[in-house]
Symmetry: C2
Subunit: 404 residues, 2 copies
């Protein structure tokens, strides 16, 4: 039996596929592993006992389904491997190390000046991650991988595209800058796509194969998941919902167009309006608290935002017709004043059901990751799901198209 | 060797897969068949010689690729099988019979009163198709299948959904009404989805696996094709581009919402405006001719329509990020006054490329089917591609999810 890192990076062998499936699922029964890998039941059974003997797989608990024989849940041995997730955000970097049961072992938040360069970020991450690993008795090359969540769309060849949050990073080749500093397989993805992976791994989308995620936070982002895979589109910029143009003559957006959804719903813009209204600066948390209390002005701002959000989601449904919308981001914590209003606006802005007969409507579910944890945990999920690989010594290819 | 119909309907055997691949491709080399079926080269070679001996497959011509040895193109024997396509349109039914090389053998157009019932349609189609088949020396059960193109979205279980053109058909179970009258495997799909299949089979999308089709005709319709498959979404109403809401306070649309794309771009609405402007009725062909000539008023109507069309397509690209748009329908025949204006509007209504670096933009291609042939030919393609099956004695299931 090979060690866990070799198995994890082995794209071909049944044992490698089994280990990666367990990494993605967290804990699973043998039956779930047969289903998700497509490997025969008897092979799975033999491999699992070999992996148990090698202390790579452990029994965790017995799952009762309510009928029939209860099933043994298995997971990877938490001691056998770790991975890291990194959020590269607006004036902040956050680094989390998780074990293979998805438990967080280390969580460091670093403030950084707003116009940090990719090189500064990579140096900071290397130094901090080295210390975090040392505290856990290991080093960076022992990690199974490091995931980077970037606040911008990413091209298939790992280049940063037009983005609001890291405007100086346009065209940067992430593999080039990070792989010389961080000696470990690297994965990178747009932060909203990471958010969808976090919801699929730990949140409201466990077991969901087809859904659309909308994130309402400082800006508006999202992801389209089809058959369990985050869709990146032709050049990596699919699901840029924040830049759906609602008003061609509206306010100028940072993307260069006018009247984008984010100019109506991004809380960056809502806070500016709140400041004009109240005459003094308002933080996002203050804004949300006042909106939730129904305070004059704030309530109206959130209702108007919900109206536009429902319009954007309605158009998305007219185009994609998804079975499920997952709503995340801080605005979702306002509650019904935002969410119920959004749903009624949605119904007015998407193809109505016929008068006769029932027509299944999409479900709306509030995600689990309403604060900003989705991005850094999604960066961990990039490694666990082997998604968005941009560089890595054991991958057989230095950089390539991610599983799109 | 079985007869062609048994082979065609045999979902499992390699010979069946080969026959269906040839039906879908029209003419192909052995190499293309290996690639599209995934069957090994030597098996394909053996099966092709058996099918040649049974006179199911014939050699058609030799294809020179410009280098290396020229390849033999093969096709199904045109005499060995036929299929029919039916358009159920606004006040019209059209029935086409094609052979397996995709050649049209019979084409009948029937005017019918606007509020025809599904039962009337099925009776008319049975009677006419019986006569068409008789003229070709056969009967309906000899056909490999009949495809129905419907001017409304269709649910996965073959029920007609909310539609403009056949408003009384809402909730109708097509299999129930047509399978008792037409003794042949039946396929049905929304007409715009049929249009995409026609472009993939005979038109501008041959060999294209990923594209978005927009049809600008009496109304606005479309299709999303991903990995060679027309996407139907959760309940069958994906790609209803005509009902993207551009102006929440705009004119009432027949769908029940306001300001849908079709209320700005559908030529049904453009003709109404032209009539108000000129003071007398204007046909769609007159409208297009005058717009093409740049006549006062008409030119402005087509430019304004192009502006809105580009906005809708821009939003579609922000959501889906497709590599290719195919534009079909009569409005595309206006030429640059429509298409160039549409493209410049598109650029103002989708996420712009960054200042630095090149960003691949989607291609725009005018389809081959600009008049209404796309729908009836797409209905033939439903059978050739084995798509949208709703009923059929040899299918092993009377009705089911189409290949979505």
């Amino acid at each position: 039996m090979q060690n866990i890192k070799d198995l994890f990076l082995d794209q071909e062998s049944p044992a490698g596929r089994l280990v990666r499936a367990m990494a993605a699922l967290g804990a699973a029964t043998a039956g779930q592993l047969v289903k998700s890998t497509g490997i025969g039941r008897s092979t799975v059974s033999t491999l699992l006992s070999e992996l148990r003997d090698a202390e790579i797989v452990i029994d965790v608990e017995v799952k009762s389904t309510g009928f029939g024989r209860p099933s043994q849940l298995l997971s990877l041995n938490p001691a056998s491997g770790r991975c890291a997730g990194v959020l590269l955000g607006l004036g902040e970097i956050r680094i989390v190390i998780c074990d293979l049961t998805h438990a967080v072992l280390s969580d460091v938040w670093l403030p950084i000046h707003r116009d940090y360069t990719p090189e500064e970020a990579a140096d900071q991450i290397r130094d901090t991650l080295t210390r975090q690993c040392a505290a856990l008795g290991q080093s960076i090359p022992d990690l199974l991988g490091v995931g980077l969540a970037i606040s911008a769309p990413l091209s298939y060849d790992g280049k940063v595209m037009n983005g609001d949050v890291l405007p100086t990073w346009g065209g940067v080749d992430l593999a080039e800058i990070f792989s010389t500093r961080i000696d470990c397989p690297l994965h990178a993805e747009n932060e909203s796509h990471c958010g969808a992976l976090a919801e699929m791994t730990w949140g409201a989308a466990i077991g969901e194969k087809d859904f659309v995620l909308y994130k309402f936070d400082l800006g508006v982002g999202g992801a389209i998941v089809r058959d369990g895979v985050v869709q990146r589109g032709f050049n990596g910029s699919a699901a840029e919902f924040g830049h759906i143009v609602l008003e061609p003559n509206g306010s100028l957006c940072r993307c260069g167009n006018r009247g984008c959804l984010t100019t109506f719903v991004g809380s960056y813009h809502l806070m500016k309006h709140a400041e004009e209204f109240s005459g003094h600066p308002v933080t996002i948390d203050q804004f949300i608290e006042r909106a939730r209390e129904g305070r004059l002005g704030y309530r109206r701002l959130i209702e108007d935002a919900a109206e536009k959000a429902g319009w954007g989601m309605g158009m998305t449904a007219t185009i994609l017709n998804p079975p499920l919308f997952i709503i995340v981001g801080k605005l979702a914590t306002v509650g019904d004043a935002f969410v119920e209003r959004l749903k009624s606006s949605f119904e007015r802005h998407t193809l109505p059901p016929p008068d006769s007969g029932q027509h299944p409507r999409p479900r709306f579910v509030i995600g689990k990751f309403l604060a900003n944890d989705d991005t850094v945990m999604g960066a961990v999920a990039l490694v666990l799901h082997q998604h968005g690989r941009i560089a890595g010594h054991a991958s057989g290819r230095l950089r390539g198209r991610s599983a799109a």
